[in-house]
Every structure is written in structure tokens, then in C-alpha cells.
């Protein structure tokens, strides 16, 4: 599967919406399969988990691209594959013109300074045996940048993310969840990266704490010109932080659009269902809403449905399409192209709907 050139254009931001200039990160036709092994003495490969299937997008300088989807949509796998933490089954990941998927570990290493990640779980991602100062200093040491003055640099990093630099000699367990996530952010910033992958950075936190982390990330971006690949399942968070949002379903990108447009006029039935399912913290609005609901659960990524992967749950497929119209959904994988609504949508019968 190769994406036509005009698709690639459509994946870039629309004029006037966040992000400028050349893309820093270009992902093309990214595929990641995980083997499924049989049980028993002789373990054979009996199938594949189709975690990511032919995903393409661009990330621009100073832009936040949101990647949303429910469990098993492949959003975390993408974020890990982009950084080379998982090897891609096929496809390209280009960082400022350089192909990353073919680089050896050794050649990848200097590039890791520029591509950093903040993990979801601030409890599991910090080494419990070393002090916070050491956690933040570790990337500097690994990359041979822990020279004179580095102690001050670490203290400055802690101050920057809103922690008391006097607490550098404490251990991760002495901090609250929100503070730990700040430590993770300080560690990611230590090497002055250009691109930061944020993998569900606030989903383990209570809302009052989450807001502080979101403010911090937005400050860092506007002051340092960082590019964020922001992976999350929470659409409200996405709307707040992202310039553009890419919606994933069962390993495929189904819609990508500037955040404002995506939430105002979603065109893919799955995006519509997602927007519709988020409860609004406003009793009058919440009770007056019209809802688009979906049936059933996400199918297994080992045997994804043919054609459009959303068709088994799609309210449009079930309720509005004629038998002959449905044939396209079953037989043909819908391409991610602009279907007249101004943004790429992977649905044969895409139609913008206002839901909020």
C-alpha cells in the first residue's frame, strides 16, 4: 500500500493552523504487526496482531499533533515505533529528512537527544533506586554532557518544571503523582529535544493535578518551540492541547483535522461516536445533547474486519446505508483522503455533522 502524493499533502496542517515550515517528523505507511504464538511445547506463529496498518502523518515544528483512539487502536505502538523503541514491520519514519527505521542503534543514538518521550505511568517510569537529581542527570551522563555546571543545569531543570530544586536528593516515591510526572518531563527536557512524544502523560492523574501538567507542557512548547506527538484517549484534553488531531481505530487512521474543525464538524462516523460519547461537565447541555451511539466492542486486531474496520460497529452502516452501498464498506479499504469536507477522512460515506 503506497499513499498517493496528494494524500501526503492533505496530512500537513491547513494554512493558518498551528505548526509552520517543513515537517520535523514524517511518518509514511507505517505498519507494525506483533506475532501471535501458539501454546504448547513447540510455539509456532499462528497469526499477527495488526497493531498499526499503513499510518501516515506529518508533525511540524512547534506543533502539537494529537493521536486519539480507544484501547487497542495502536496509538501507543505508533509513538513507540516512531522513536525506534519498537521496530517497524514496514514503512518510513523520517526525522528532518533522515530515515530512522533503517538506522543502527549506534547511528540512532545521537538522534535520541532530539527525540524524547514522557511515559504514562509516573510510578513505573522513574528508577526508584536513584535520587531525582540522578534521574534528571542520567540522560546528560549517557550522552556525555555531564560536565562542570551540570549540577546547576539539573537544578534549573527541576525549577523549570515547578519542583523545588532543594528536593533533588529525594527519591521518586517521596513525590506525588503530579510531581513525578514533572520529574519525567524534566528528564525528557534535559537534552534539549526538538520532538517530545507524550504517551498519555496525564491520564493517571486527578483532574486538579492534570491541569497543572497541561499548562506546563503548553508553556514549554510556546517558549522552546517544541513539537509534541501527544497520545491520549481523553478527547477533552486533546481539544485543549492539540493543534491537529488524528483519530485511530483498530490500527488505522480514520480522520485527521485541525482540532477546532474535528470537534465542531467530525466527518467519520467513529469520530462522531467518540465526540458524542464524551460526557460534558455541564448538566443542561449534557441532557439536551443528541447522541450517536455505537454497538458492541472493538473487534480483535488479530482478525480485523475486511474493508472498513469500523463497519461492524458503524451506526451509518447499520442504519442508513442500502445493501449495495454497504458492499463498498465490506470490500474496499476506505482511503484517507479529503472527501469534500476540507480534511482527510477514511470513510466512503463521510459527512460532517455538528455535535456540540
Amino acid at each position: 500500500m503506497s499513499a498517493p502524493a496528494q494524500v501526503a499533502d492533505a496530512l500537513s496542517p491547513l494554512p493558518g493552523h498551528g505548526g509552520t515550515g517543513e515537517p520535523v517528523l514524517q511518518v509514511r505507511d507505517l505498519v507494525k504487526h506483533f506475532p501471535v504464538m501458539s501454546h504448547g511445547v513447540v510455539r509456532r506463529r499462528v497469526g499477527d496482531v495488526h497493531a498499526v496498518c499503513g499510518v501516515s502523518f506529518d508533525l511540524h515544528e512547534n506543533e502539537t499533533l494529537g493521536l486519539v483512539g480507544e484501547s487497542g487502536s495502536g496509538k501507543t505502538t505508533i509513538s513507540r515505533t516512531v522513536l525506534g523503541l519498537e521496530s517497524a514491520t514496514s514503512g518510513q519514519v523520517r526525522y528532518r529528512g533522515r530515515e530512522l527505521t533503517e538506522l543502527s542503534r549506534r547511528r540512532m543514538r545521537p538522534l535520541r537527544r532530539e527525540l524524547q518521550i514522557v511515559f504514562q505511568d509516573p510510578y513505573a517510569s522513574l528508577d526508584p533506586r536513584i535520587s531525582v537529581h540522578e534521574i534528571v542527570a542520567e540522560p546528560l551522563r549517557i550522552h556525555g554532557r555531564y560536565g562542570p555546571g551540570a549540577d546547576d543545569e539539573v537544578r534549573e531543570l527541576l525549577r523549570l518544571v515547578g519542583l523545588n530544586p532543594e528536593h533533588g536528593n529525594r527519591y521518586a516515591h517521596e513525590f506525588s503523582g503530579g510531581q513525578r510526572q514533572r520529574i519525567g518531563i524534566a528528564r525528557a527536557l534535559a537534552l534539549r529535544p526538538r520532538v517530545v512524544v507524550l504517551d498519555e502523560p496525564v491520564s493517571a492523574l486527578d483532574v486538579s493535578i492534570q491541569a497543572g501538567i497541561l499548562n506546563l507542557l503548553m508553556d514549554l512548547q510556546s517558549e522552546l518551540g517544541l513539537s509534541f506527538l501527544f497520545v491520549a484517549h481523553d478527547l477533552s484534553v486533546m481539544r485543549h492541547v492539540a493543534d491537529r488531531v488524528a483519530v485511530m481505530y483498530l490500527g488505522r487512521l480514520v480522520e485527521i483535522a485541525p482540532a477546532r474543525q474535528l470537534f465542531a464538524r467530525p466527518a467519520h462516523p467513529y469520530t462522531q461516536a467518540l465526540v458524542s460519547a464524551i460526557p460534558l461537565p455541564d448538566p443542561r447541555k449534557e441532557r439536551a445533547r443528541t447522541r450517536i451511539t455505537v454497538q458492541g466492542d472493538v473487534p480483535s486486531p488479530v482478525r480485523p474486519p475486511s474493508g472498513c474496520r469500523f463497519r461492524t460497529r458503524c451506526p451509518k452502516f447499520a442504519g442508513q446505508l442500502t445493501v449495495s452501498e454497504r458492499a463498498a464498506c465490506v470490500e474496499e479499504v476506505p482511503a484517507l483522503v479529503d472527501r469534500g469536507g476540507g480534511n482527510p477522512v477514511a470513510c466512503h460515506y463521510a459527512e460532517s455533522v455538528e455535535l456540540l
Binding site: E70, G162, L189, L220, E223, I278, P281, K285, V294
Partner: protein
Amino acid sequence: MTESVLEVDGLTVEFPTEDGTVRAVRGVGYRLERGEALGIVGESGSGKSVTALAVMGLLPATARVRGSVRFEGEELLGLSDARLSDVRGKGIAMIFQDPMTSLNPVHPVGYQIAETLLRHNPDLKARGARARAVDLLGTVGIPSPERRVDAYPHEMSGGMRQRVVIAIAMANDPDVIIADEPTTALDVTVQAQVLDALETARAETGAALVLITHDLGVVAGHTDRVAVMYAGRMVETGSVEDIFYTPRMPYTLGLLGSLPRLDREEARLTPITGSPPSLLHLPPGCPFAPRCPLRRDACDGAEPPLRPAGGDGHLSACHFSEELVGTGAGEVFEAAGADSAALARFAEAAPVNTPEEDAV
């Protein structure tokens, strides 16, 4: 006025630990009218789940529970386990957060529904119970229930398991359903399905609902009244409109201000700084004072009780609740983010990075 089905009064729960006594719940009280839906919101450790477990008599024996829990006039605290078992399931049913641990993995789901039915209906025969189980599975929206009745929990998805739990909860036509974070472990599209099933269960049984959650959106759509908990106490209660449109407790205002919203664009969120106090060593005075932008000396004195604030039945535990009239979170809380001075210095310092490849 309708009568209350559930009255909780001065409920306190303490857990003795090696480090001292954890005061998890400190004087919680509420009345639940017949058919009413009460939302209990609060963040991790605020005591909302422990309150529910205390009402059901499900806390470990080491917990010290005091106060009063009356169900249809009968005091539940201090009842024997055998007597409580008559109330559980039939009078008050409970839905837990994790349907994987609340269902028994070694029995089919139909058996588990029938078990609940047979416990409270001695005249019912096994065949009748099974037929009723199929009906219930259909009611909560499980497709082909006559086939699914023989499925084991592990053969079902999370959303389906939670619907089975709802079917069990509504099996004996309870007067009260207590749902503790019923959709927290689920994806949003599945959450919507499960909340629909919960609404169906309420409509069928006419049960009152206590919905415990941290998700203010879920509360907005599914409850009539809301109680906000903080550090083991209720700090504000009122109608769902009171709480969302005219909050009178700084903590509630702060929670609403920290929420990113799908339906509007806000330039900046207003987080609540700091973290909740340890329930081992509670400071005297208002437990929210250390994080409160309105804090002054009076706040460190006596802990403010719930007092009328504004509308009918709207109570707030803040000495200065009237100061919140007509203000928004943006005027009270600071939109704190990065340390701006440190950030400016960091941005100015010449980037150490030049993306040179290591020589090979």
C-alpha cells in the same frame, strides 16, 4: 416530601495502621430520596469509595466504623453478616469498578445471576431463575442473551462484563443501587453503552442511585444531586445545577476550572496547586486550606461545617463561601504552569545540541 430510603448520618471510618490511624471518612451524612440519583465526586483518596463500602458493611473487620446508616428506617451498622445479606442485593445492590474481580471466574454469568435470584426468592426454581437471567441479560443490552447466559466472564469484553454486573444488581428489584466508578475502566464508547444500561436498570426497578465517580461529566448527565468530597468529608452538596453553575466551595470551583472542556475553548486551565493532605496527619482547620487561594487565618481554626449557601439545600463547608458568588475559577485560581523565569533562562541558553552523527 417523599420518604428517604437511605439515611447516612455522622459516618466515620478509621483504619488503624502501623503509622497511626488513617481517618478515611470523617462525619459523612446524606439522605437519599426514593428514586433519586445522588452523585458523589472527589479525587483519589477523598473517601468516596470507603463511604460506599461502609454503607454496605463490606469493610474489613479492622476498620472502625461509627455513625448511622439507616435503610428504610432500619439501622444497618452493627447488624450481623447474615442479616446484612438479606439487605445486600435485595434492598441495596452494589456495582463495583472492576467487573473482572467482582464476577466469579469459575461460574458462567447466568449461574451468577441465578444465584442472586435464588438467594432472595426461595420459591423460585432453577429453571425459572435461568429464564429470568436471560431476560435480565437482554434488558441490559447483551446481544443473543440465551447464548451468552452460559458464557464465562473471561469470554466477555469489559463492557459486557459490567453489563452483567448491572444485571445482577437489578435482579432483585433493589431500592438503592450504589455504583462505585462503574465506567472508569472502560473506553468512552463502551462507557456510553454501560451508562445506558444503568439508566435502563433504574427505570425498570425504580431504584435510587448513588453514583460514585471522579468524572464530572458522568455526574452532570446522570444525577439529580451532587456531593463533593475532600479529605474524608463532604465539602459541598446541592442540586446538580448548584454545583456546576454556582459552586460555593473553592475546591469545587477549582475542580471545574481544571477541567479541559470539549464544548468550548479555554486559553488556560486553572489547576489547584499542591496535593490533598495525608489522612494520617490531618492539619487542624479546613483540610483544603493549604491549597486554597482564599485562605486566611480563620481557616486554620475550626474546621468549617456544612452550612447553607445560596439555593435550597445547597450547603458548603467554607467560611467564605459568599465570596464565591459571581466569580469564576479564573478569578480565584492562578493558571500556574512552568516557572517562567527558569523557562526564559532555559530558552536563552544556547542549545548544546548540534545534531552531528557520531563518526563511524
